[in-house]
Amino acid sequence: MEAFITHTGTAVPLRRSNVDTDQIIPAVWLKQVSRTGFENGLFAAWREDPEFVLNDATYEGASILVSGPDFGTGSSREHAVWALQQYGFRVVIAARFGDIFRNNSTKMGLLPVVLPGDKAADLQSAVEANPKLEITVDLRERQVRWADEVVAFEIDDYTRWRLMEGLDDIGLTLRHADDVAVYENGRQPWLPTTV
């Protein structure tokens, strides 16, 4: 996974709440067996509306999505993360995220940034007033900065370290294969197997 340390770019304001993963990538797109080509499925139904903000040329080239609260609720489909990344987003900012979506994002190097609701809304307004507004998302400092604003966000040390190093979890866990083997020997004898 690509390391994430700091990112500067422009944003798209998505003035909606409860952006469930069925909207981010509709089910028909989940039939693919590869990991690529999901950018065309991103918000596929909403993008049919010419007024939808992603169709607004003013925001072309944006790499930060600023959403209303409860972004990525619903299904566990990681395809939602792939679609956002393949479309060109590196950061999603919202007041609240669905837990699984947030987890999936950090596995793939898409940074989910939790900002308090009014701060996310302030940022949306700032972007609407100036679509070319430069925004910096600094994972090292745990800050989002735009114009004169500096807003801190929280992320746990471990996830931050992993993202900044671009480390894949499986490799990290395999370093502890011995611990897993020890645990396995002590499992309760009645636990089922599928064979």
Binding site: D22, R35, A45, D99, I100, R187, T194
Partner: protein, 461 residues
């Protein structure tokens, strides 16, 4: 200080704990289906890794499968199912393919085989894995990267969520079901209310629920934003498990039961949050909007967006009414539907089909009505009981097992503008087909609605 049920199960599964790192958690059972696994197996192949414990992994085909007999017509769906078959064979994983007597929706087959047991950790690349928590384990949905992680290591790094108790006092009135209870809970705490928590459902009304009802409740924990929902195991749990193919037997059964009995929240344990709800005040619930928190008692009317003080909730309601083609003030009972769907991992179990059949017996449906058993075994059981004859005589369609119209990845979909009463779990825009409009209901309300063509409670018939 005492510990909660969630804390006990979590602690039992910690393989490794280090300062400033998530716990490394052992996974007792990993369920797999065709949609969220292909890229995970590709990842294993690329890295030259194996599946660590194929004997703790089980696969089924559910999301794409047609519910009428015959092969899969859609070549893309077909390829996905074939990919699962190839992967299961290559990595040595037990698979229940279409047509197999063990096939069914992934969250129905685990409990049915007795693979889902108290105190276990269970994961699946599917958010409704929370269903399995009904047996008193920690069960949660994961994404494809995590599926790959579990395949390779049988563990997951995770931070323990906070704990929430939902205390349900009183008794559910007659005609009010587990589905109504969970819809009422979500309406109360909101779709984000459970974010960051494992919820334990407690109290008299919960203890009175059957295992089927408990699974319905835990299933929709994710709709309240919670990663997992759980219910302490008790005699109802043990009676359900006893004799199932993978349940412990003989001496092992006694040992297991003794341990399972310790799986309850200690009296002096403290939850991070407590929510209370009085079951005796509940009536049948339906959703009117496009997220599962937008629900109301059936006796009420479509709300006006102006009735929401919070501006975010107000604009969400405006959008929802527009999408749903509804006007504020319309009594919910006057909403006409085109399609009724009974099925899914929320309400596709035998008890759900029995209660729908009871209402349809001797009556005729006025809408297209799909009855889709959650698994082949549910289908066979229903046929043994003659329920399929009741459905067919009423004019409903009796189908093969699968996810079906819960998410419309197979041909069972709504057309744009069509409206359904559905026993599934998500009323998101386009969930059941592009432009489709979904009202979430219990199986009883679904069946009564099929009879009148309008949202209806059985008591109205």
């Amino acid at each position: 200080m005492g510990r909660t049920l969630a804390e006990k199960v979590w602690e039992q599964h910690v393989v490794r704990r280090a300062d400033g790192e998530p716990d490394l958690l052992y996974i007792d059972l990993h369920l797999i289906h065709e949609v969220t696994s292909p890229q995970a197996f590709d990842g294993l192949r690329l890295a030259g890794r194996k599946v660590r414990r194929p004997d703790l992994t089980i696969a089924t085909e559910d999301h794409n499968v047609p519910t009428v007999l015959g092969p899969i017509a859609d070549p893309v769906s077909k390829k996905q199912v074939e990919t699962l078959r190839k992967n299961a064979a290559e990595f040595g994983i037990r698979l229940h393919p279409m047509g197999d007597a063990g096939q069914g929706v992934v969250h129905i087959i685990g409990p049915q085989f007795g693979l889902t047991q108290p105190g276990m950790t269970i994961v699946c690349g599917d958010s409704h894995t929370s269903t399995h928590g009904a047996f008193g384990g920690i069960a949660f949905g994961i994404g494809t990267s995590e599926v790959e992680h579990v395949l390779a290591t049988q563990t997951l790094p995770a931070y323990r969520p906070k704990t929430m108790a939902i205390e349900v006092s009183g008794e559910l009135p007659p005609g009010v079901t587990a589905k109504d209870l969970i819809l009422a809970i979500i309406a109360k705490i909101g779709t984000g209310g459970g974010q960051g928590y494992i919820v334990e459902y407690r109290g008299e009304a919960v203890r009175e629920l059957s295992m089927e009802g408990r699974m319905t409740v835990c299933n929709m924990s994710i709709e309240a934003g919670a990663r997992a929902g759980m219910i302490a195991p008790d005699e109802t749990t043990f009676a359900y498990l006893k004799g199932r193919p993978h349940a412990p037997q003989g001496e092992a059964w006694d040992q297991a039961v003794e341990y399972w009995k310790s799986l309850r929240t200690d009296d002096d344990a403290v939850f991070d949050k407590v929510v209370e709800i009085d079951a005796s005040t509940l009536t049948p619930y339906v959703t009117w909007g496009t997220n599962p928190g937008q629900g109301l008692p059936l006796a009420e009317s479509v709300p006006s967006p102006d009735s929401f003080a919070d501006p975010v909730a107000r604009s969400a309601a405006e959008r929802a009414l527009d999408y749903m083609g509804l006007n504020a003030g319309t009594p919910l009972r006057e909403i006409e539907v085109d399609t009724v769907f009974v099925g899914s991992c929320t309400n596709g179990r035998i008890e759900d089909l029995r209660s729908a059949a009871e209402i349809l017996r001797g009556r005729q449906v006025r809408t297209r009505t799909l009855i889709v058993p959650g698994s082949m075994q549910v289908k066979l059981q229903a046929e043994e009981e003659g329920l399929h004859e009741v459905f067919k005589a009423a004019g409903a369609e009796w189908r093969e097992a699968g996810c079906s119209m819960c998410l419309g990845m197979n041909p069972d979909t709504l057309k744009p503008g069509e409206r359904s009463a559905s026993t599934s779990n998500r009323n998101f825009e386009g969930r059941q087909g592009k432009g489709g409009r979904t009202h979430l209901v219990s199986p009883q309300v679904a069946a009564a609605t099929a009879v009148t063509g309008r949202l209806t409670a059985p008591a109205d018939l």
